[in-house]
Each structure stands twice: as structure tokens, then as C-alpha cells.
Amino acid sequence: MITGGGGPAPDLDGLLRAAALPPELADAVRRTLRSAGLSPEERLAVARELVAHLEDGLADGLLPDELLATFGDPELAGRLIHDARSPWSVRATRIGVRVGGIAAALFVVLYAGAAARLYSGSPERPTAAATLHALAAAAEQEHRALDWVWTAETALASGDTIASAEAERHARALLDSLVDRAEPVVRLAAVLVAGELMALERRGPGGPGPARPAGPDAARARLPEIDLDALGTWLDDYLARVYAGPDAEGRLTAAGLRTVRALKGSVGSAPRALLLEPVYFAAPALRRDVARRAGRLLALAAEARERPDDPVPMDAFETELSEIASGPGPVGARYYPLALVMSRLRAALEAERVLGRPGP
């Protein structure tokens, strides 16, 4: 990557002053760099190259207006330079900001709820449920549904019974609003929400407890038209586009790609295939860890499939989650993809139980 040239590094203003560029050209360089959003060192290195380019043009007898005309739109140039230097971050940042914002808000809400319970002596805090509901309602419909799996998981894990009841109520409303839409991503979201709704129904609004007999049938009744085979085909196409795209080389290492393909090969259902997405989004340093842990979770899933009448091995999932939470580094940001893997896998298991087996 770009590094600065030799000698003491001047700042950008100093560089432009020393170059004595016409004001309109200096302004174009400034606007480009402002739009590129690079680190100070990188900004200076890029500035050196752009300034040298313009100086060469002037030395060749080109007029400032001519150079300005060939410069192109500075803001566009800046954005493209930014993308060229960190293309993975374009999508990851967008998603990360959204996910991180929700995660941070949920963390604050749940932490505050726990603290309030502790100090008030009250076993329940309705503010947590209300805030969860508001967060979900503010998101776009399909994003809301895709994220809901994790949101509901958080509600359950918090032990906040009102939050769990609110999550269940919201999941029902969300599912009702999704089932009539034909877009594959919405149908996928519906399957995931149905799976999570099952988890909520099994625990019940009052906390952990016996499964509700009507739960599986109710969830099945809400999904009469979803063709899982078609959904699986759509997912295959989607993944093919992601991994075979022009920027795939920059986003995923060859080893990472092999890992993803190997994992995908062991995935048996459409909802389950979604768990590979976090592997794709995970930071490079985390891919191996994510893949290893995802492999363990897949083994748990396979074990669960062999014993369809047994409950989902939540204790093993909880153990995994504890290990993740006690791991090094900032847990929330670094291990979010893995937490997503877990929640989606669990949701997929539930969805498989609902959708993949005949009713009583």
C-alpha cells in the first residue's frame, strides 16, 4: 500500500503551498482527499501523487482549465480512491454500522434493564421491551426480519420475560406482514422469523417452560406457500454472485473461500445456508476462529438432526457462547459474526423442525 515518501512529511497545506498549484487545482486535490476519507498518512501520500501529476501537466504546457477538465469530479475521485483502497469496508462498514448500532443499543438497553432490576427489586422492566420494539420498528422490513432472529435471541438470553413476550408478539406481527410477499429475501426472512418464533413459543411468555403444543402447527400454518427448494436455489445464486463477483478476491482469501465452500457443502437446508454469511463478513483475522467454531456448531446441528425428538442442545450452545464471551478483545464487535452464526443456526434448527417434519 501507499506509504509516504522519504524525508520529513509536510502536512497537506504545506504540500500544496510548496507545489504552488493554481487555486482551482489545489481545491480539486483538497476536495478529492476530503471525500476519500483516508488516514492522515495515506491522505498525504495520495496528495503527493495527485500534486505531482498536476505539476507534470503544467510543466507539459497544459492550462489549469485543461487539467481541471481531465481531473474529473473530485468527490467521485475521492470516493473511488477510498473504495479502491478498502473495498471490503464498503459493504462491511454499511452493515457493521447498522448491526453495530442495533447491538450497541440493545446492549445498553439490556444492561440498563438488568441494573434497574437489580436496584429496584422488580423482576421485570417494560422499558427494555418497548425499546426493543422501537428498534425493530425503525428498521426496514426485511432487515428487521433478518435481524429479528438475533434480537429475539437477545431478549430470551436476557431473561427479561416482558422483553420475551414482546419479542414473541412482535415476531407474530412481523411474520404476518411477510408471508404474502414474494421476494426471496423476504421469504427467507419469514422462515427465519418463524424459526425464532418457535423458540419463543417453546419457552413461553413467562420464561423457560414446557413447549406449547400449538406452536409448531401455528408456525407451519403461517408459511403455507414457501417453497424451500426454490429458496435454496435463490440462495445458491446469491452466494455464487457474492463469491464470484469482481471484488471477491479482495474480500475473501482463497483459504476463506475454500472454508466457506466446505461449510456450505455440509449445509442441508436453505435457512441453514445463511449461517455462512457471517463467515463472509467476518474480519480476516477472525475467519479461522469463526470457521472452527462454526464447524463445531454444525456438528452439534448434525447431532441434533440424528435425534429429532430430543430438544435442541441449548446447553452446548450456551457453552459456546460463554467461551466466546470470555475470549480476548472487545467481545461485541469482534465476535458479533459468530454470535450471529449461533443464533441463526439455532433458528435454522427450529425452522427445520417446524418445516421439515410432518405435523402430528
Partner: protein, 117 residues
């Protein structure tokens, strides 16, 4: 600069990266030199502004297709020469093949070639 017909941005986006690799395969060049060579040798068809050329170069650099080498010219100006790497040579060879197949196909359709209409 060499006057000439400018190609639409859609075509430029597809052709410029290959043209850059092709020119760097001959010898290392710095940005301005590369832009001038592209304009001159494409008869003005590929005039790349900063918003096209430098993102291409930085993208190639990040992917390991080219390698920069900084030199200070006699006039004290920074020269950042870009060398094609072995990986870049492989990419160039692959893209040349694809481009030839595309040109052959367009030619078969009667859309390419001298004075193609």
C-alpha cells in the same frame, strides 16, 4: 493531450484496467506518464482522469497486481513508478484472452473491425 473520440464511461470502465496492465507490462510508469501514454496510444479514446486512473492503480496495488516504487526526479518531484508483478502478468494474460474472444465475437456480429458499422 491528444484529441480524439472519447469512449463512454461504461466502456472505459471495462477497458481501462486492461489497458493499464498492458502498458505496465512494457515498462514501469508513473501516473502522469501512464495517463499520457494511454491517451496517446489509444488515439485519444482512453483519456483517464484522476477519478478513473488512480482508483485503478490503488486497486491493482491492493490486489498485488502492481508494485509501486518511489523515486525522486531531478526536478524534485515525486515519481511513483508502478511495476507489473507476476500476479499482474497472469491477470493480464487472462484478460487478454477474454478481450480477444469478445473482440472476435463483436467482429462476428459485424460490430468491430475497420470502419465497422
Amino acid at each position: 493531450m491528444v484529441p480524439g473520440p472519447r469512449i463512454g464511461s461504461e466502456f472505459t470502465r471495462g477497458a481501462a484496467p486492461l489497458a493499464v496492465l498492458h502498458l505496465l507490462d512494457r515498462r514501469p510508469m508513473y501516473g502522469y506518464e501512464l495517463a499520457a501514454a494511454l491517451t496517446r496510444e489509444s488515439a485519444g479514446a482512453l483519456r483517464l482522469g484522476h477519478s478513473t486512473l488512480y482508483p485503478i492503480l490503488y486497486n491493482f496495488e491492493r490486489k498485488g497486481l502492481i508494485r509501486p516504487e518511489e523515486r525522486i526526479a531531478e526536478n524534485g518531484r515525486l515519481r511513483r513508478y508502478y511495476h507489473l508483478t507476476p500476479k499482474g502478468q497472469r491477470r493480464l494474460a487472462a484478460q487478454r484472452t477474454q478481450w480477444s474472444e469478445l473482440a472476435r465475437g463483436m467482429n462476428a456480429l459485424g460490430l468491430a473491425g475497420e470502419g465497422g458499422s
